[in-house]
């Protein structure tokens, strides 16, 4: 293995390799929960060609690779494989092109939310973002990981338009209409995601947690920044009311950002982002807060806001909610416009709402039908009710006009190492799976085992055979999802 490290240094330059134990342990501070396994080395390439060489080397020597692009790692998908190579893309951090005409931006994989959002703002553009992304998290990584957008419009759901990647075998490839060999010099605009041909590499990369290849850059769709915004806040007292209102609003296509938080989640997200005093929080928080942002851009913005608000009033009326329930952000929080913070990363560069007061890595999120969300919430509440120290935070995010819902549960506890809370967490996970929760991206080994373990063997087989087709040596993050290094040799049966 001395040979490996030397070869890595020869490949990427010694200054771009971290391979001593001290250096490695120092590096691993960027993980929210320090991983147990230590990599052999961490390499920090600066371009696609270097990444290719690393991958080819890894294949030659059958050494696993774990690619990461964020500066902070909030979940276990980034955990290194013991004795493997971590490929850290932080130096691929350029915003390569802002194409105002076609409303897209090309960014390298290491570009973070903290970089991109202000850069776009300068150009009067914005990107559909998730709920308070960490400013040090890679934008590309977030999107590939299917972090749900705050804006449930179908049009905004999948903003990646095309990308460049290094396959696990080391070949360079571009997807969609960026796939032309002379992309950049030809008329190919990279504006469309699919193919080329009858397979969709972009799809295979989504949700793969770095097991199918290393993305080097992506074209991402952006929008014109609205000139006028109004945030409507509706306090509600039950998940049923929340989902009913969400369904009605989405069916009429009103507004942009739309989501709901229960009090516990509200406290740890919006209230904390606004830095509200504790007294205020304790007095004013509703059980549930439904949030809707109505926006308008260039053309007759007041009229747009007006017709959407009028439509919203009618919806509220039909849901038995009075117009009085419609609060603006000023009324409820008395502070600045809410839409602004909703379109920004999490303000604290060190901490993050996903970690505040929660058991590390103990968040559950899955996709549900909107009309089943109350049942899932009730189930979780019942399971968690046994532990008085646990406060359950819930985030409800409609997707695709309410065709689906991202449900997220945070288990707040004063003691990070609370054993009872840990047990409750797993009880909730198991019962939600039994209830039919659709975990599309289970994070962490144990949850992944739980989820994948219940799947049809045909599905697992197909996943493994697909991986084997693209990664015959099983070197790309091979111990994640349902994969293991041992799968390399067999026929893909689980």
């Amino acid at each position: 293995m001395i040979n490996l490290n030397k070869r890595l240094r020869d490949t990427v330059g010694a200054e771009n390799v971290i391979d001593g134990e001290q250096g490695i342990r120092q590096y691993l501070h960027s993980f929210a929960v320090k991983p147990k396994a230590l990599p052999r080395a961490i390499v920090l390439p600066r371009d696609s060609a270097t990444i290719q060489r690393i991958v080819i080397l890894a294949n030659d020597l059958c050494v696993p690779i774990t690619p990461v692009s964020s500066r902070i790692h909030l979940h276990q998908g980034a955990d290194p494989v013991k004795g493997g190579i971590m490929v850290d893309l932080r130096h691929l951090n350029r915003i390569l092109e802002i194409d105002r005409r076609n409303r897209k931006v090309r960014v390298e994989a290491g570009v973070t939310w903290g970089q991109l959002i202000p850069a776009l703002m300068k150009e009067n553009l914005m990107i559909t973002n998730p709920l308070f992304p960490h400013r040090e998290t890679s934008v590309v990584s977030s999107l590939l990981d299917r972090t749900p957008p705050l804006d449930p419009r179908f049009e905004c759901a999948e903003p990646i338009a095309s990308l460049e990647l290094v396959w696990p075998t080391g070949e360079l490839f571009r997807t969609g209409t960026a796939s032309h060999v002379n992309y950049g010099a030809s008329s190919a605009g990279g504006a469309y995601p699919y193919g080329p041909g009858p397979i969709d590499p972009l799809r295979l990369l989504q949700g793969s947690q770095g097991t199918m290849g290393i993305v080097t850059w992506a074209n991402i769709r952006v929008k014109k920044r609205p000139t006028l915004n109004e945030t409507i806040l509706v306090p509600l007292d039950s998940p049923q009311h929340v989902t009913a209102l969400m369904h009605a609003v989405q069916k009429r296509r009103i507004g942009r950002e739309c989501f709901a938080l229960n009090a516990a989640m509200l406290k740890t997200t919006i209230c904390e982002a606004l830095d509200l005093p504790k007294a205020f929080i304790d007095k004013r928080l509703p059980q549930w807060l439904f949030v809707l942002v109505i926006s308008a851009a260039k053309w007759f913005p007041e009229e747009k806001i007006a017709y959407e608000k009028e439509a919203l009033r009618k919806v509220m009326d039909s849901e038995g909610l009075t117009v009085d329930c419609m609060n603006s952000d000023k009324q409820l929080f008395g502070l600045g416009p809410l839409h602004h913070i909703l379109r920004s990363p999490w303000p604290d560069p060190k901490a993050h709402w996903t970690l505040n007061g929660t058991i590390p890595h103990k968040r559950l999120f899955f996709i549900s039908r909107l009309d089943k969300a109350p049942a899932f919430i009730r189930n979780m509440e019942q399971e968690a009710a046994g532990a008085k120290r646990i406060s359950l935070g819930v985030y409800v995010q409609p997707l695709e006009y309410g065709g689906g819902t991202h449900l997220e549960f945070a288990f707040f506890t004063p003691n990070q190492h609370d054993h009872e809370a840990d047990e409750i967490f797993w009880a909730c996970a198991i019962s939600s799976i039994k209830l039919g929760a659709h975990y599309t991206r289970p994070q962490g080994r144990r949850l992944a085992r739980l989820v994948y373990g219940r799947l049809d063997p045909q599905y697992i087989r197909l996943l493994k055979e697909t991986k084997r087709s693209f990664d015959p040596n099983f070197i790309m993050n091979p111990d994640k999802l349902c994969f293991s290094f041992e799968d390399k040799g067999n026929n893909g049966s689980s």
Partner: protein
């Protein structure tokens, strides 16, 4: 020939009324004389040896297992309305999926679950009852929802939502070896409401910029996304052939604008997309304006020729926009105001528009493309930036001139443009018509345009045609896109269909085979 013992096995699966190897029955399922007049149909098309009509996924699975065991090639097709889906191998089994016609709308989850035998016309009618809608594709509302979502799925109504890829939710897929796998939320339960599965999204195997055209097993059930529409009823009216939906004009309206030239029209498209208004935005090819008004083919040609012989030539461009007040009447009024302001900005003149819909909400009159001269095909159908569409169009106009005749003279029409994905994309389809009874020499010229020079032009321009597998030889475009997307595509094909039984020669090799078999093409192969 399917052996008697195997035939009996098939018969035991589907039942006697639903299997036939009578040549009189099988000849209805040829690729020839199904409107697809290209060299592929002429050179590769065969008559299937046997036709089966399965009803359930279990039957399809059992059939494919037998095919796998006995190495019997097969082709699945539902409505057969994409003429690529015809048998091209000898002794092929034809799976006619029309009996798999379950349709269930789930209005709460904004979706519908359909079998391959369900058409868009049926789905749209059911969806509209729930205040929802789907996107009837350019190919026509008689297309199969499943097959079209898997292969194409584009139309003016996809302006907001884009190609069908993202509208495929969960699916039930019979792999070429007969095993059944549920994708998306069917992997974790019985509700097909969600498309992303666990882990990597395996919909990426089902289709990319185009589908497999039945050469990677059979999808027997699919859940597709529906979208909130507006609540007013669209009344059916008229008597054939002039039938249409009467639009409730306080909630849906068509608008026509004459722009002084193509450049202005495309700029308007960009601005409309940026303003995030509208439900459909397209440039109407000049010929279509005459098709719409003609009372007969003869009437069309008379008017068309007369107009083209007039001086000065009419160079105006027609932009057609559909507004839908999804939210309310006030929304439509607002969007109309914005639209008119944009039109004014670009000097576009508003023209009267009939407030009726013959295409695109419940129908799409794609068949008129064959009505013009008997044969039709598009040498490209692509989505990238609007500027890429414009540049490709200019190339194709120039190339087409060299092939006119035999192509019908359309006086340098730049093609069918649409804005898509709210203007993030610009669609171009470059349409061509010709007389299939023209001389052999002329037909060979058409072949060359379609299979060689057209694809070469696109490769040079960098335009990824989403029709790529239907006219372009993989040996030509494969190395130029990806690069080498052909290599990765073959890997998937080899992974799932190692015996090559699913619709051989498959979309990967068909056009290369055509070129090999056609001396008038082979002699021009220069790669």
């Amino acid at each position: 020939m399917i052996s008697p013992s195997v035939y009996k096995q098939f018969k035991d699966i589907v039942g006697k009324p639903y299997i036939s190897h009578d040549p009189e029955v099988c000849q209805a399922y040829t690729l020839r004389n199904r409107g697809f007049h290209g060299a592929e149909a002429r050179l590769l098309g065969t008559v299937p040896a046997c036709v089966l009509l399965p009803k359930t996924t279990e039957q399809v699975s059992a059939i494919l297992q037998i095919c796998y065991q006995h190495e019997i090639p097969y082709i699945p097709a539902s409505t057969f309305w994409f003429t690529q889906a015809g048998p091209r191998a000898e002794n092929c089994l034809f799976l006619d999926l029309k009996r798999m016609n379950e349709l269930q709308v789930d209005s709460s989850a904004l979706n519908a679950t359909v079998g391959p035998g369900v058409t868009y016309a049926q789905l749209q009618a059911e969806a509209l009852k729930h205040g929802l809608y789907t996107m009837v594709p350019g190919g026509g509302s008689q297309a199969s929802v499943v097959a079209n979502h898997l292969s194409w799925g584009f139309s003016p109504l996809t302006y907001r939502v884009g190609m069908a890829n993202r509208r495929i939710l969960a699916a039930e897929w019979v792999l070429p070896d007969g095993e059944v796998v549920g994708l998306g939320s069917l992997a974790t339960g019985d509700d097909p409401f969600w498309g992303e599965g666990v882990g990597p999204d395996l919909r990426g195997l089902l289709r990319g910029s185009i589908g497999w055209m039945g050469s990677l097993g059979v999808v027997t059930k699919m859940c597709v996304r529906l979208f909130p529409f507006q609540p007013e009823r669209l009344r059916s009216s008229g008597v054939s052939p002039e039938t249409f939906l009467v639009l409730p004009t306080h909630r849906i309206r068509w608008y026509n604008f004459l722009c002084q030239d193509l450049k202005t029209l495309l700029e308007m498209m960009v601005e409309i997309g940026e303003a995030e208004i509208a439900a459909a935005v397209m440039r109407v090819p000049r010929m279509w304006r005459f098709i719409a008004k003609a009372e007969s083919k003869e009437d069309f040609w008379e008017q068309w020729n007369r107009s083209n012989n007039k001086e000065p030539k009419d160079s105006s461009e027609l932009l057609r926009v559909l507004l839908v007040g999804y939210t309310s009447t006030a929304q439509l009024e607002y969007e109309e105001k914005v639209l008119m302001a944009i039109a004014q900005k670009y000097g576009a003149v508003s023209r009267p528009a009939q407030q009726r819909d013959q295409s695109w909400i419940q129908s799409a009159d794609s068949v008129s493309m064959w009505w013009v001269s008997g044969a039709f095909m598009s040498v490209t159908g692509q989505v990238d930036t609007i500027d890429c569409a414009a540049a490709t169009s200019a190339d194709m106009v120039k190339l087409k001139e060299q092939y006119t005749p035999p192509l019908v003279q359309d006086h340098q029409d730049p093609g069918w443009f649409q804005a898509t994905d709210m203007g993030h994309g610009g669609y171009l389809e470059f349409l061509n018509y010709w007389d299939p009874r023209d001389s052999e020499e002329m037909i060979q010229l058409v072949d060359r345009y379609y299979h060689l020079d057209g694809p070469k032009c696109l490769v040079q321009r960098g335009a990824l045609s989403f029709f790529i597998q239907t006219n372009s030889p993989l040996s030509l475009d494969g190395p130029h896109f990806g690069p080498h997307y052909d290599h990765w595509t073959r890997k998937v094909k080899e992974m799932l269909d190692p015996k090559g039984l699913s619709n051989p020669p498959g979309i990967l090799d068909a056009i290369d085979q055509v070129i090999e078999r056609a001396p008038w093409l082979k002699k021009h192969k220069d790669w």
